[in-house]
């Protein structure tokens, strides 16, 4: 049995999400080979070759892969698919984009966002935004999996350099082209990878009041999120939304401010390590999942909190 793991990288560094997800690959019996793709990626290749648990690293260094598009990357993996039994990637927007395309080309089902490896063909994943946990078994000979990074510990990159081999791009389709990328330039971390998140709900009353959250977020190095109620009310854009139809997050610390705790919202944040709820309604369901609850007026609490930090 041999697994192929697709390694993501940015700015010469292997992505933290990939380092976490590769741990799932190591839990499957047999060798793990890595695949890293890009243009001028020597630095990332050097780091990737030292990932613990990797026995071989394949790399494709080609200007055409300066930006990785699903149509092209899928073909790169498909070209070498005969050598592998398992195909894994982190469930990032890249992994989610590419792996199902690969699975269909291989005529197999994909198992998405696994959170544990039970055996060679059995995996655990969440369904209904984490409201149920399913153990699933696949009968496909080749197995395509994406891995939820937050469920695994990151592999270290201090092992001896593994075997490194170059591969070439062949039969690459040109049905799509990269136009541009606009990465959010914020000192704040991104919602899905933030260690601390502070979110506001309908209780914030309007969009301007989100500044109160911004100030606390600045002190904590936190990302700012919102409930669907706050998004629907037009306080903040949709990409702030934490919940079943928004982003599913699991930070170390989640602070819910003026959020009642609708099922929809809880589904998106209840795997957080520590939950703090600040709400003036002591009956609010958010207090049922909060480790620390503060029944108080958020307009008083937020400036105090900013001061105290």
């Amino acid at each position: 049995m041999t697994s192929l793991f697709y390694i993501e990288h940015a700015n010469g560094k292997v992505s933290d999400q990939s380092l976490k997800a590769i741990t799932a690959a190591s839990q499957i019996e047999g060798d793990v080979h890595g695949l890293i793709v890009g243009s001028n990626i020597d630095e990332a290749v050097a780091e990737a070759s030292k990932i613990n648990g990797l026995s071989k690293l394949l790399h494709l260094d080609d200007a055409a892969f300066d930006n990785v598009l699903a149509e092209k990357l899928t073909q790169v993996i498909f070209n070498i698919a005969g050598d592998y039994d398992y195909f894994l990637a982190a469930a990032t927007t890249t992994g989610k984009n590419v792996m199902p395309r690969l699975a269909a080309k291989l005529d197999v089902s994909q198992i998405s966002e696994i959170v544990a490896v039970e055996s060679a063909d059995t995996f655990i994943r969440t369904i209904y935004a984490g409201n149920a946990i399913a153990t699933v078994q696949t009968s496909d000979a080749k197995k395509v999996l994406t891995v939820r990074p937050t469920a695994f510990k990151a592999a270290t990159t201090d092992s001896a350099e593994c075997e490194v081999a170059k591969i070439n791009a062949e039969n690459i389709p040109s049905i799509s082209e990269f136009v541009g990328e606009e990465l959010t330039k914020s000192d704040r971390p991104e919602l899905t990878s933030a260690k601390t998140i502070i979110s506001g709900g309908r209780g914030m009353q309007n969009g301007e009041n989100f500044e109160l959250l911004d100030k606390v977020a600045e002190k904590l190095g936190a990302a700012v999120g919102a409930s669907r109620a706050a998004v629907d009310a037009g306080f903040v854009p949709n990409d702030y939304q934490v919940g079943q139809t928004g982003k599913v997050v699991a930070p170390e610390l989640y602070i819910a401010v003026g959020i009642s705790g609708a099922i929809q919202h809880l589904a998106g944040m209840k795997d957080s390590k520590i939950i703090v709820a600040i709400n003036k309604d002591e009956e609010a369901p958010i207090f049922d999942v909060a480790d620390y609850g503060l029944v108080a007026d958020l307009f008083q609490v937020l400036p105090e909190l900013e001061q105290a930090l």
């Binding site: 927007t93 089902s109 480790d291 620390y292």
Partner: protein
Amino acid sequence: MKILVPVKRVIDPYVNIRVKSDQTGVETENVKMSMNPFCEIAVEEAIRLKEAGKAEEIIAVSIGNQSCQETIRTALAMGADRGIHVLTEEKVEPISIAKILAKICESESPGLVISGKQAIDGDNNQTGQMLAALTDMPQGTFASKVEIDGDKVKVTREIDGGLQTVNLNMPAIITTDLRLNEPRYASLPNIMKAKKKPIDQKSPEDYGVDVTPRVSILKVIEPPKRQAGVKVENVGDLVEKLKNEAGVI
């Protein structure tokens, strides 16, 4: 140009999910069902493209039991022109759904397929990408903006950390993310009108697709429950506990 929009019937997002006591799945009997929210966004986007004169006909497709007709009717009431219902009692996996849709693409030749990025029941996030692979079409997944320009479609995608824009040859597959649009509610007159719009009934066999599942669900359990913690008196207490007890700040 035709636009094909696959729509899925799922448990309403505002319903509390209950896991069956025999651990075989979640309770769906007597539970409110709705169109998957990401599919609603897909229907809305197709309608907007038609309203902008970029498309002539919108076809809504649903694969599943008899009740899926209601979901197709919802799409028709929003503004889709006709429906295709592929009737099956089997729980159809994304790979098989994609195969059926690929066959429908062969006969209907849509210029675009717009689907939701994922259904909120299985959370698979696979069907659009699989359909793209089977039809050799390019894919614009997790779309927050769609612009048609001649025989190309420019798609702005929500990626981790920001936005990416790609230009795709048409026909192409687009999967919707939340920010793409806000779906309309169907008006009463349109709900009445939708009753007269045609729905073609088919079966997976009509398309020569074997929908036997490849993945079996061995067990479905409830996630570990969180215990309610303690109430603190004031901000000072809270900060002290977060620092010294929880160690998270």
